[in-house]
Symmetry: C2
Subunit: 204 residues, 2 copies
């Protein structure tokens, strides 16, 4: 009766979460793991421990389920930014504080990172989620500008690109490093996987 779970995904919260939340979590997990086109609704229903029909009840369609997932992710980012502000002395947090807050959120939600990675590399899709996060980041930058926490001379779009790519780029590329290292026999691997640094060379 319980959903088969060879995925290692957290199932302990099954009892406490509403069906709607479990469906959203399962969709996030499946989309991140197998991609949107690669996940049948039945797989989501199975992981969430519900019937297929319930997905159509809460979210209108499969596309609606994707929208629900992305809305939730946008909320996570917004909450992380607000948290940084509320814990700051002044009315607006500085760059480092916001970076740390978002980094902590991403660290707590590795599936969000996996989902974003896919979303970014799948260029065909309109990339609406990235647009939304970019808007969020722009507001953040402008708030810091007004508070005198960010350089007012640099182009605001450049600041957004720098902030997002520096943060996400390292996370997106890490699997590549791991895959390459894992391609070698264990006794040839270095003890510690190399770390990445992604820099944005602002346009000359």
């Amino acid at each position: 009766m319980t959903a088969t779970d060879d995925t290692g995904f957290d199932e302990a919260a099954h009892d406490d979460l509403t069906s709607r939340a479990r469906i959203r979590n399962a969709a996030l997990h499946q989309f991140a793991a197998k991609g949107f086109a690669g996940t049948p609704l039945r797989a989501i229903a199975s992981e969430a421990g519900v019937a297929v029909g319930l997905i159509g009840h809460y979210f209108r369609s499969k596309e609606g389920a994707r929208e629900g997932v992305e809305q939730w992710i946008v909320g996570l980012f917004a909450a992380a930014l607000e948290r940084a502000d509320s814990q700051s002395d002044g009315r607006v947090a500085d760059v480092a504080a916001r970076d740390a807050s978002v980094a902590a959120m991403l660290n707590d939600n590795p599936l969000v990172v996996d989902y974003l990675r896919r979303q970014v590399l799948e260029l065909p899709t309109d990339g609406k989620l990235i647009s939304r996060l970019a808007s969020l980041s722009l507001e953040s930058v402008e708030a810091m500008r007004n508070a005198g926490h960010a350089s007012a001379s640099r182009h605001p779009v450049e600041q957004v690109v720098t902030a997002m790519v520096r943060q996400l780029g390292r996370l997106f590329l890490q699997p590549l490093v791991d895959q390459i290292v894992d391609a070698f026999p264990e006794d040839e691997q270095p003890t510690k996987h190399p770390e990445l640094r992604v820099e944005v060379k602002t346009a000359q």
Copy 2:
């Protein structure tokens, strides 16, 4: 009768290429654009200008078509490396020459980059293609070691990781930069998209 082609993919070579090659090219294009699960065999057949059945004839199955594509890609990399050697004065080319040769090949085959981007960042798939390319790169590094063209003190696996990630990482992340920039209205965008630099910080 001719396949509809709103994709902008090169169709001029249709006449000169064998059906098998056209199927392989179409599969590469479709997989890179829509993903493996997102591409029906009919789309490949349509772009290649053949009947669906012919795909099953040349490649055993859809999975077989993927294998055919990846085998071809591995061949491209191997050829690029050999080309660097043959154009070198000594018996073995140095790092820069090999980098340039592979970079030129990737520049001539942007669809290969798109395909690799998907393949690499998809953790679920076994990542066999990356393993093969890593092996290829290792041979390359060892050849250069023997020729005295590469540092013999650094860990060989680290050298492979550095070479691959520096080269591919920038290409993989560029769409992220473009997506973010395009998320803003045109009059706010900088004239030139920012460029990326990806560095591998070798393990401490």
